[in-house]
Symmetry: C2
Subunit: 121 residues, 2 copies
DNA sequence: GAAAAAGTGTAGATTTTTCTACATATGAGC
DNA sequence: GCTCATATGTAGAAAAATCTACACTTTTTC
């Protein structure tokens, strides 16, 4: 199913994406807000159930790591955004962002080159 | 506060963004899933409280319309996405989308021109 | 091998979100 | 001014998400 991530779950996923394989106490330390060990472990349990992470036993502790890739999650979110705000058009979404976000000339040139090189491929 | 939108609230906002000013029964009809009148009205109540919509009385009914602009909401969501997936870099987010999304040559050229014209401005 | 340290499991409690049911109000038409 | 269809208001239930507290297990260390 790998259903979508809630805000709290995302906090945990971000840590795992950045740091790889960790045990609960380590995730707890890096957590953006103070969270009790058991509360964090509840999030891990849910993420396991949803299939977003996996764990393996090392010594007496379980180590957790992301299964759902960061890029995949981004892609999914972007699709959702396009659905809601641009009638499902991805290119519409990208265009809208280019139009409305503050971008430096360097940024714009970078994007130009990127589109160019991908067009040629 | 204008705090962020839940999935259910977003369903309602989408309808109001598309159709302008409507009364509950009309929103109910256009709702993507079957929803009871009172349940829908509860969503409207929350959206009012959060300041995302306003209402005015016409005859005996209230008509609701979006206060929070669609583009503003998109911007906010995009910022959030950039925060989570690209260390807060908007241009990083756009680049990632161009790289990973399937885009036709026409799409790519359109984006190129867009970046170009914005660069010149 | 007993005690301390570090870890796990899990049963409720709380909070937030969402829905249901029903009582009450209002405007149109006769 | 009644009546009926259409609205609204609201109390409380249900469901989902999150947290707390505490008991139990496994290493490690002395």
């Amino acid at each position: 199913m790998t259903s979508s991530l809630t805000a709290c779950e995302l906090e945990v996923m971000q840590i795992l994406w950045e740091h790889g394989e960790l045990k609960p106490a380590q995730i707890q330390e890096k957590h953006p807000r103070p969270i009790k060990n058991a509360a964090l472990r509840f999030q891990l349990k849910i993420l396991l159930q949803k299939g977003h992470i996996s764990r393996r036993k090392v010594g007496k502790a379980y180590y957790y790591q992301a299964v759902t890739a960061k890029k995949g999650a981004l892609k999914k979110m972007a699709r959702h955004l396009a659905q809601v705000y641009c009638q499902g058009s991805t290119v519409g979404l990208i265009a809208e962002l280019i139009k409305t976000e503050k971008l430096s000339p360097q940024d714009l040139r970078q994007l130009q080159r990127l589109a160019e090189s991908k067009d040629e491929a």
